[in-house]
């Protein structure tokens, strides 16, 4: 919402105030002023001139030599290149020595003729030409014929008027009008609002009859009046410059007046061509099924019963509160208009506007709600201006219909009573408030109020629909007393210990651990492209395919919710690989969204996943010998250390994974006690290629945080240190090359008896000393007793049992 200082000063006394001060105080009162600047700056010595003659330049086809009177003793000779310059015009003239936004004007000679200044275009004056009528943008800026010759253009066009742009919060729709802002400013400085509500007048004779009928409950009030004898022409310049300053395009006197009054009173108005209304009968009703309307923008609109139309007995004339129809548009042939000032259902206006994608200044105001007390004054004001600046005369009495206007006394605000207790205000705000203070705040707001048994009863006028409950009035008190008046205190109440949940704590632990392992945390979007399914080689029955679609995505690229972190991390990898960063160790603790079914019936499961992607060298480059490419066991080592750190010790099992996006021979599902906790593996080469990377060694892991949560160890009882030394034995077993070592180890463990403390694989050999289909697995077995030092004899039976078990289960042979 834009306003100007001069315009505002018409309704409230601004004596002794500066725009800067008012802007600051409005901001501190909750009406932020986003922008404050003159209409145009940097203009000096530009005056209104009268073009006495405009003759062809002797040496240039496109130039004219003009004689221009500027109110000084001598006329000026000015060379002008604009095609539209003509004798008799009033124009802005930059005198020699003048300043314009783009620089100073000096004396110049154009093709042999000396020019004593410049005739200016609108854009040269710094006006926003996008809003000007086309004929005013292509050449010099032609002023009205009554422009006083010699007057400063800054004065004449009010270019030094200050424009303020208010950034209104949705509750302050009252400030979508100068009236509302005037009340606000008046409250800030305890001044009075001087805004006359003109009275509706009835002509002695009804020249053009009009009837109004409301046949829907979505129109709360409808008022209208006919004005005849109008001539369509530009509105007065002061009105045009004000509209321009607040960002409204001047069109003609009728349209400009409806806009001007809307800014003044906050009430949108509409003008219909009287002759287009069959029988002079206006009916406000719900649209009919399959009804159509050609709107002002030239579009044929299909109407629905959920929309409200203004109609005559034969046809729809316009969409209530949204847009007028072409058939009743005001044109140069219009001899009389019906001015409408009405209240339409905010929700209905909003829905229709959204449905047809039509947004307008009027629509915005209807959606936020209009003060019923402004409806009739706005109608009267528009009629008054049409008579004054359109040559019109009142041709019908005002017609009123609808429940909302029934109980409104013209010029009198409808009120709502809200009570506020001083004690409650003090308790909420934290500083002392008494009834006297509240009454004085009400007086500043120009709300009638009285105290009764400790409660101040406030008659809140209809112009402030945002004030409905006690808390709203408490905010008004705080606002006008000033938020800087609120002290800073400490909460009174029991002590509470702040804490993280277990999941949050675990998230931090995992984050810190992975960072210590040299991994870089990333944060990626949750939306991915549905094409990731194919790029990840997912099969039709894969449950990762169940990606929830957004109803209205912004782009196909980000239109479904991810079910795995892999595509997100691959996108990050691709971005960085393209920038030649090929050693990447990325991780994210992010969310994946797993629906129970699609289409979605209920909220999906949101699973927190620790995911990592690693590419490149195992070590940062150093001068101490060659590094090597990261491999499966580097990554598995990181996962194992993370699981250990989280207290999972040896509980995880790794079994060959069938995940289609991983390498067929280098991928594992990770389980504990039969339930899946994640997976790890080399990313399938085609998947890398599908994400724009020609890579053979990219690794991925993911762990479900939720699955880990119940397994985490968060208590520890320290074990007594052993008193007796341990004994270790090495053992090399030759087994089938395809036997998973984990299976061999588990059979060793279960056969080894009580003394076995630990067993580790320290070498796996394949080659000439064993058969082609075999491998030799070297184990180091550690034994210890808690009661005594073990002797050689104690180990004979366990070692024999291990061999027997390995032999019978896997055909293992002792390697000599």
């Amino acid at each position: 919402m834009k306003i100007t200082w001069n315009w505002l000063s018409q309704y409230v006394d601004l004596q002794g105030l500066t725009p800067k001060q008012v802007a600051e105080d409005l901001t501190n009162a909750g009406i932020p002023v986003e922008y404050l600047a003159p209409v145009a700056t940097g203009i000096e010595n530009v005056v209104v001139g009268h073009v006495k003659s405009a003759d062809q330049h002797p040496n240039a086809d496109r130039l004219r030599v003009c004689t221009v009177a500027v109110g000084a003793a001598a006329d000026l000779t000015i060379v002008c290149g604009a095609a539209n310059v003509a004798a008799g015009q009033r124009v802005p003239v930059a005198l020699v020595g003048a300043r314009l936004p783009q620089g100073p004007i000096g004396k110049s000679t154009l093709r042999g003729v000396a020019s004593e200044g410049m005739i200016c275009s609108a854009s040269e004056l710094g006006l926003d030409v996008r809003l000007l009528p086309r004929d005013q943008t292509t050449g010099i800026f032609v002023l009205p014929a009554d422009a006083p010759v010699g007057e400063s253009i800054v004065e004449y066009l009010e270019l030094s008027d200050m424009v303020m742009e208010l950034e209104l919060t949705p509750n302050r729709s009252d400030c979508l009008s100068l009236r509302g802002v005037a009340y606000e400013v008046a409250a800030l400085y305890s001044r009075k609002v001087s805004m006359q509500a003109p009275e509706l007048r009835t002509p002695p004779q009804e020249k053009l009859p009009l009837t109004v009928e409301v046949a829907t409950d979505r129109c709360m009030a409808y008022s209208a009046q006919v004005v005849s004898g109008l001539s369509l022409r530009p509105s007065p310049l002061w009105m045009q410059t004000r509209l321009l300053a607040v960002g409204v395009r001047p069109i003609n006197n009728i349209v400009d007046i409806t806009n001007y009054v809307m800014f003044e009173w906050g009430q949108p108005l509409h003008a219909f061509d009287y002759d287009a209304i069959a029988g002079g009968r206006i009916i406000v009703r719900d649209a009919q099924r399959e009804e159509a309307l050609m709107t002002l923008d030239g579009q044929a609109r299909a109407l629905e019963p959920a929309m409200t139309v203004i109609a005559d007995p034969e046809k729809a004339l316009g969409l209530a509160g949204v847009m007028g129809g072409e058939s009743s548009e005001v044109t140069a042939n219009t001899r009389a208009v019906v001015i409408e000032s009405a209240l339409f259902d905010p929700l209905q206006t909003r829905r229709t506007g959204k449905r047809l994608q039509l947004r307008s200044e009027a629509g915005t105001r209807f959606e936020k709600g209009i003060d019923p007390a402004a409806t009739l004054p706005a109608l009267a004001r528009a009629v008054e201006l049409l008579c004054a600046y359109g040559g019109g005369a009142i041709a019908s009495g005002p017609r009123l219909a609808g429940a909302a206007l029934a109980d409104v006394e013209p010029g009198q605000d409808a009120v709502r009573q809200v009570g506020v207790r001083a004690a409650r205000a003090a308790a909420v705000l934290g500083f002392a408030v008494d009834a006297g203070q509240i009454l004085s705040v009400c007086e500043r707001l120009q709300f009638a109020a009285r105290e009764e048994n400790g409660t101040v009863l406030v008659d809140v006028p209809s112009r402030r629909p945002d004030i409905r409950i006690e808390e709203d009035l408490i905010e008004e008190i705080a606002r006008l007393v000033g938020y800087d008046h609120i002290p800073a205190t400490m909460i009174v109440g029991p002590l509470t210990g702040g804490e993280l949940s277990r999941a949050q704590y675990l998230t931090r632990l995992a984050t810190d651990h992975l960072i210590a392992l040299g991994m870089q945390q990333v944060v990626t979007y949750s939306f991915v492209s549905p094409t990731v399914a194919e790029r990840m080689r997912l099969q039709p029955d894969d449950e990762l395919l169940r990606m929830i679609p957004l109803l209205h995505p912004l782009s196909e690229e980000r239109s479904v919710l991810r079910t795995t972190m892999l595509p997100s991390l691959l996108e990050v990898a691709e971005y960085n690989v393209n920038r030649r960063r090929v050693d990447l160790r990325l991780f994210e603790i992010g969310t994946v969204y797993l629906p129970e079914s699609l289409p979605l019936q209920k909220q999906p499961t949101e699973r927190r996943v620790i995911a990592g992607l690693l590419i490149g060298q195992v070590q940062a480059p150093s001068p101490h010998g060659e590094s090597r490419t990261i491999d499966f066991f580097d990554v598995k080592g990181m996962v194992e250390s993370l699981l250990l750190r989280m207290g999972l010790e040896d509980k995880a099992q790794y079994t060959r994974s069938q995940a289609p996006f991983l390498h067929g021979g280098q991928a594992a599902d990770i389980e504990t006690a039969g339930s899946a906790i994640g997976l790890i593996g080399k990313i399938h080469r085609d998947v890398c290629a599908n994400f724009g990377m020609d890579l053979t060694d990219a690794f991925y892991f993911e762990l479900s945080l939720e699955a880990l949560l119940p397994l985490v160890r968060d208590r520890l009882r320290v074990e007594d240190l052993p008193r007796y030394p341990g004994v270790s034995r090495d053992l090399a077993l030759v087994v089938s090359r395809t036997l998973p070592v984990a299976e061999l180890l588990s059979s060793v463990r279960s056969a080894a008896g009580l003394f076995l403390e630990d067993v580790r694989v320290f070498d796996v050999y394949t080659g000439e000393h064993v058969g082609d289909a075999e491998k030799s697995v070297a184990l180091r077995l550690s034994f210890r007793s808690r009661e005594r030092t073990l002797a050689d004899d104690d180990l004979q039976e366990p070692m024999a049992a291990i061999l027997r078990a390995a032999k019978s289960a896997y055909g293992a042979v002792l390697r000599e």
Binding site: A427, D472, E475, D484, R579, R585, Q619
Partner: protein, 342 residues
């Protein structure tokens, strides 16, 4: 005999430096060495002479042994020096450093703010990102078709299920779950979504942190007290703040908190648009309708809520101009955070 011993001593000492040390020891101090030979000749001496010469001989032995030890130490030290010279490396060469790794700046900011509120005695709460209309809007005093819903264009998944537009539904959920318990003191970090086209200052997904207090006797001055302390912990001990009236459907009275511009300290610069202040968060007293939707009696309890954008604070703190930088994950940018200690 005595002269013989003296001559032997002098000869041995003079030869020490130029002999192989071990050969020298065998020759003079060994069991079959010169000194032993001389001593064996003592048998021929008289009983009176024997102790005198014996004592003398022991003195000579001691002198020689001492000389031997000194020479040995000298040679050992020389050997060690030679060995170290051979083993000398260039200590200016870089070590085998492992990759550093770093926390993402947005996570860093969240962790700091969580820690500040945990220090205030708040519990960190989570909630779902895929929310029901009921919790995201209705329980927060935003009925269907409320014009304020326009402030937050929403990604819907179905008519009733949506991606939360703020972390505030966790307020509603917590109140509903914990009613009638008091006090409620929670802080809620999380990801939120708005149907905005991505540009330098907008992102369709971003992060918020929300704080909520509900108890008997909570005042707006308590809110200000928390905010003053929060701003000091986050931006420095002398950080000034101000509150301005604002509007949120779920708070009344509502406020916007500005901090004194951290770049120009109030003189005016481009970051603060010459105002000397930077808007940092929204807050207010919990709207009675929100308390009631959670089952609490708005007549006897009050509360306050605070909500802030994580990206905004990160952009200000680290002088990042474009919000999209946080989601591009260019490691050249992220790595810079590896060396930031807080």
């Amino acid at each position: 005999m005595k002269d013989k011993l003296l001559a032997l001593r002098d000869e041995a000492l003079s030869r020490l430096e130029h002999s192989d040390l071990e050969a020298w020891r065998v020759e003079y101090l060994g069991k079959k060495g010169e000194l032993a030979t001389v001593l064996r000749g003592m048998a021929t001496l008289s009983a009176e002479e024997r102790p005198v010469v014996g004592q003398y001989a022991n003195q000579v032995r001691a002198v020689l042994e001492e000389a031997f030890a000194a020479r040995k130490a000298e040679l050992d030290s020389h050997q060690a020096t030679l060995r170290e010279q051979a083993e000398t490396i260039d200590v200016t060469l870089a070590g085998r450093i492992s990759y550093l790794g770093a926390e993402h700046p947005l996570r860093k900011v969240i962790r700091r703010i969580e820690d500040i509120f945990v220090g205030f005695g708040f519990t960190v709460e989570d909630g779902p990102e895929v929310e029901l209309d009921r919790y995201n809007f209705e329980a927060l005093n935003l009925p269907k078709d409320h014009p304020a819903r326009d402030m937050q264009d929403t990604f819907y998944l179905t008519d009733e299920i949506l991606l939360r537009t703020h972390t505030s539904p966790v307020q509603a959920r917590t109140l509903e779950r914990r009613c009638p318990e008091t006090p409620i003191r929670i802080v809620v970090p999380g990801r939120v979504y708005r149907r905005d086209d991505d540009d330098a200052t907008h992102s369709h997904a971003f992060m918020q942190i929300e704080a909520l207090v509900v108890d008997h006797g909570i005042r707006m001055s308590d809110l200000k007290g928390i905010l003053v302390q929060f701003a000091r912990e986050l931006f420095g001990a002398d950080q000034e703040i101000r509150l301005r009236p604002s509007f949120f459907p779920f708070t009344e009275p509502s406020a916007e908190m500005d901090i004194r511009c951290i770049y120009c300290h109030g003189d005016g610069c481009s970051t603060c648009k010459q105002t000397g202040w930077i808007e940092i968060l929204g807050c207010g007293m919990v709207h009675p309708h929100v308390l009631e939707a959670g089952g609490y009696d708005a007549g006897s309890l009050t509360g306050f809520a605070i909500g802030m954008g994580v990206e905004r604070i990160a952009m200000l703190s680290y002088q990042v101009e474009d919000i999209r930088q946080f989601y591009l994950n260019d490691v050249r940018l992220l790595e810079q955070f590896a060396t930031l200690t807080r």
